[in-house]
Amino acid sequence: MTWSESKQEKVLTIVCKHEKRQTRLLQILREVQEEFHCVPRYAIEIVAAELGLSRTKVEGVVQFYSLLSLEQQGRFHILFSDSITDQFQGSRKLMDYMSAKLGVKPGQTRSDGKVSLGFTSCTGLCDQGPAGLVNGHWISRLNESQIDRIVDMVEREVPVSSWPLEFFHVEDNIQIPGLLLQSPIEQGEALKQSVRQGFDEIFIEVTRSGLRGRGGAGFEAAWKWRFCAEGPEDYSGLSLVGRNERYVVCNADEGEPGTFKDRILLNSNAHQVIEGMTVCAGVVGAKQGFIYLRGEYYRLRPKLEAILANRRANNLLGKSILGRNGFDFDIEIHMGAGAYVCGEESALIESLEGKRGVPRVRPPYPIDRGYLDQPTVVNNVETFAAVAAIAAYGGAWFATHGTEKSKGSKIISISGDCERPGIYEYDFGISIAEILMDCGAENTLAVQVGGPSGGVISGKEYHRKLAFEDLGTGGSFMIFNKKRDILEIVRNFTHFFAHESCGFCTPCRVGTTLLKNQVDKICDGHSTALDLVGLTSLAKFIKTASHCGLGQSAANPVLGSLSHFPQAYKDRFKDVVFEPGFDLDESLETARQMSLRDDPWAHLEQ
């Protein structure tokens, strides 16, 4: 069987639209997926041939990203967020409900090809869950009656573009605005100031502000920029005439479960974020920038494209920005495709180049050799928003807020057991207790600061402060009350890491799965004190032996809960030396049935 010409034509059109560039591979495959509800084998061959890549390279990329699929998916592809906060809001039950109504199981496509169901790690709607995605579009606050309506529209094959808009309604949900959200800049304000003062002066302002990266690691922004601006040429003594290109990348791959502050910034403050990128470009001398937008934030894309176009029209992007000769900068949006690890900056750059998002060996760091091996600044969405404000209002304005080592403010996304989940912005140095009070959290068992890769804290530590020198966070702040089972939370996080491990290094690829199995064993009530010994040494091994931050933090939920809630583990232990983690007698069932046996020798004790 060969492929019809019209289908081949469609693939070719997509490839040509992206000028047959290898760096656009992921973008091409996303569009193919959208067109065919999978990436067909024939399409892989066409794409590989046109881009001059091997078929396996292309297929490897398809297999890496969870939003791409070799298997045929339904014309309606519905994903439920499997984040712990969605689970606690009843997402699993709703999935069962929908699955029964549609007659298709999660992970499968119905035989008529109309609909497929599945789970995805986190959709960034934790404050208005249970949430999910329909053909890439957000759906929030799901309940049974809403699912009834969705099922009805699916059965009648109403195209998603004609669904009532209320289904896709997503609120910003800003509860307490602070330094940045209270004083957004006027469009162009920061750039005008920069052109007036000169970028050297602006760099000094950014240095003065003490701004540290908002993605979580907290590297000082000005340092990053300086290294990128100076670049490898200076070390090797090359003349500035043969300068490398510079790139500015905005990391909008907000994949940490429980984080959704970038969603708000990109929805309502995108001008400011883009302006921050443009200021950075002026400082480091970049001509090209990228916004790496996570696949789940697909719905934000048209709005961002419109803002980019508007800024080009207003000479805030493009050639000779604000009439300054030689100040050329433009921005492309790259969509991710469902890979948490791409939030790591070197994996993100690999993905930008159209490859599998496998973290690079560092050094060299992206500031030396980033996108296409050229010096590249990668900063978080919130960092760029802060940069624009600093350029407009000055470094001193920023530095008067926060603590000695953590200047300015932090936007946090609060989800879980509290009365008012949503976006809160505080000056650094605020205590956890104050935050809990503000959002109306009561009977709090634990707070997960910084998402699954961050840390868990319990009651005796609520005096601790949000700051890089105490509790750092990329923005995730999940609250769990005393009705919650801490081990279920650990189980969810551990499954998350096993699912998101990129598979490159063995300690993480194998370790996260072993960890998942061990935690399952404990949760299923098959564990003994002995299992804890193995679990602890496994966790420590994964933490120390893994290649990148994902693996190094994959055991944090286990290690953190072990130190804060050891009793939760002990309560589950059986009073025997050892027990298998699976139902031994049940595992003989198939053989029993096929050999028609039920004698005493055909059974095993646990």
Binding site: S587, L588, T590, R592, M594, R597, W601, L604
Partner: protein, 180 residues
Amino acid sequence: MAEKLKIATTSLGGCFGCHMSFLDIDERIVDLVDIFQFDRSPLTDIKHCSEYVDVGLIEGGVCNSENVHTLREFRKSCKVLVAVGACAINGGLPAMRNFVPLEECLAESYLTGEGIVNPQIPSDVELPLLLDKVHPIHELVKVDYFLPGCPPSGNAFWRFLTDLAAGQTPTLPYGLVHYD
């Protein structure tokens, strides 16, 4: 002279390659029997473990109900239980069937496969039933040591057992766990 240490060995879902490699200690087996007395083992054809055994070496993973009983007997009798070789440690080659549902495995072998005469699933109380998945032994019982290799070399066996007999925690230098 002090009483000899008792050692028992068995192969569950294994190929006996680890046992063969054990015999690669060659003439050192004469020294070994000065220290160890062989209990249940294919080498002695003793069918069950004594009440008290010092060291049990297990080759192979757990594939069927008989393997489970054997493994449990070893665990009960042996003070120190050792998972020997890739199959005992990870399930090894037999565990490759874990990717195929057991129904399909049995059907292919006994019902639908090519050249099958009188197709039927064997059924007799004397035949062990297959588990739906092959498991490494540490998923069924507590294991004290893991002796890696496919198979572990004769020198690795020698080092391991002499360390143990000397009352030391067995350690394998890099050369004994370096395979290519």
